[in-house]
């Protein structure tokens, strides 16, 4: 029993705190390696696009950031569902730790999209379906963060935020399709299962950058969740012992 890794044990902040601490350097290192490889492929190896010139290279940041912004929202909603169903403490903390990273990714996606749109479409911003739904996703992140920040009681903040996330997840497809029918200008996705309309090196560069962003998000979320744990569990013995040991 002693040697087997019991995942349920990690649901306790006291065991997850050192585990997350040990995993952060790993995820950070992997993120840097993927990032260097992805940037090398994307900036130096991938061919210049015959239509869009060098400017297209911003997609190596833009697309992974967009993916992560949507993915993180789903993960947060997953944590929210687990937290509401099983009443686990860690779930709400994870959702709160992920929120700023998700909002950052949505913001990066919009920002880099504007830089790409200016030379390609001739406008910083157009009211196109994908841009608009990404903007609304950013609003949803901000709403979640504002709600959890406004509630002093941490448990209530977790539950209310979790419910908002679940309502948001139900609404995201509705919002997406309503905006899509409303207006569409954004080019279709260039990646599809089996057949991809872009060069292999570009695809690899993008996938490597996506892995880099993914690992970065995990590392940063772990760092943030450790801080949240210390703050919330400051009255417990394990935090007191930890801080007494640290404070030398």
């Amino acid at each position: 029993m002693k040697d087997r890794l019991n995942l349920y044990r990690l649901a306790s902040p006291a065991t997850f705190y050192p585990f997350a601490g040990a995993m952060i350097p790993f995820f950070a290192a992997v993120s840097v390696v993927f990032g260097l490889a992805g940037l090398y492929l994307g900036m130096l190896v991938a061919p210049t696009d015959f239509q869009q010139g060098e400017g297209y290279r911003i997609i190596f940041i833009h697309v992974p950031a967009s993916w992560m912004s949507m993915f993180i929202y789903l993960i947060m909603a997953g944590w929210a569902a687990i937290g509401l169903a099983f009443n686990t403490r860690l779930s709400g903390m994870m959702a709160q730790a992920l929120a700023p990273t998700g909002a950052l990714m949505a913001f990066i996606s919009l920002w880099t999209g504007a830089f790409w749109g200016k030379p390609m479409w001739g406008a910083w911003w157009v009211w196109d379906a994908r841009l608009t739904s990404e903007l609304i996703l950013l609003f949803l992140y901000i709403g979640y963060m504002a709600l959890t920040a406004a509630i002093d009681d941490a448990r209530r903040a977790d539950k209310a935020g979790g419910l908002l996330l679940l309502v948001g997840v139900v609404n995201v497809p509705i919002i997406y399709f309503s905006v899509k029918w409303w207006n569409t200008l954004h080019q279709g996705s260039s990646i599809a299962m089996g057949k991809s309309s872009m060069a292999t090196t570009m695809l690899w560069g993008m996938l490597l950058m996506a892995m880099c962003f993914w690992m970065y998000s995990i590392a940063v979320a772990f760092m943030r969740v450790r801080t949240i744990m210390l703050e919330r569990e400051r009255h417990t013995d394990w935090v007191k012992a930890l801080l007494a040991g640290d404070g030398k």
């Binding site: 709600l147 919002i175 409303w182």
Partner: protein
């Protein structure tokens, strides 16, 4: 089941009628916001006709938002809400009743006054009819979705601003199809498709939102 809903509607309507100033002020907020736009963008009829659906709908969203905090706040303050939550029947039914009552005092007056405001924007008769129908069909969804936000922000500081942050993004589909119905009619495409989608959203939100609201209320009352 129907009895609970009807009795909650009756109770909330009676309470609302004792405070008619609240209803009237939300209605006048709607009228004033809509009247500000011609002053801001200029009186050209062509421009106004184009702006009308969007302006009326955005003003309707804001007017609905304005009355949302009162949906549960008074009952929460005097303890009625806790008694309702303790009662043997499901809280979701009570919430359904409260949402319908909220629509009757906030959404329905907007639909009544909207065609008159539409005339100010020089809308054609067809467009006025569709506008009224769209507001009639869409505002129950606003009350339903808004109830979730009102329950989540119950008793929080800065509740009103927070409520708009939470709820306005979720209102976007209603806004798109509500204003789209009028736009499509003006363009000669017919607004039936948009109206059907609005009705679908209203029924979906009246079916699901009360249960999410009940869950949020239970979190708030813990």
């Amino acid at each position: 089941m129907l009895k609970i809903i009807v009795s909650v509607i009756g109770r909330d309507l009676k309470l609302a009628m004792r405070r008619q100033a609240d209803i009237v002020s939300a209605l006048f907020f709607f009228i004033i916001v809509v009247s500000l736009f011609p002053l801001g963008v200029g009186p050209e009829p062509d421009l106004l006709r184009k702006l009308a659906p969007g302006v009326l709908w955005v003003a309707a969203l804001l007017a609905t938002m304005l009355s949302l905090p009162r949906l549960f706040a008074d009952d929460h303050r005097d303890g009625t809400l806790e008694q309702l939550a303790l009662a043997p029947h499901p809280l979701g039914l009570v919430v359904t009743g409260k949402v319908i009552a909220h629509w009757l005092v906030s959404g329905l007056p907007l639909a009544v006054i909207a065609p008159i405001l539409g005339i100010q924007f020089d809308l054609s008769n067809d467009a006025l009819l569709v506008l009224t129908l769209a507001i009639l069909l869409g505002t129950p969804a606003l009350s339903g979705i808004g109830a979730i936000g009102a329950a989540l922000t119950l008793g929080l500081r800065g509740g009103g601003v927070l409520l708009s942050l939470l709820v306005l993004p979720l209102y976007i589909p209603v806004l798109i199809f509500g204003a789209g119905a009028v736009d499509a009619t003006v363009a000669g495409l017919g607004g039936e498709g948009h109206l059907s989608l609005l009705a679908a959203m209203t029924f979906a939100s009246l079916g699901f939102a009360p249960w999410a609201t009940a869950a949020a209320l239970k979190i708030a009352l813990e």
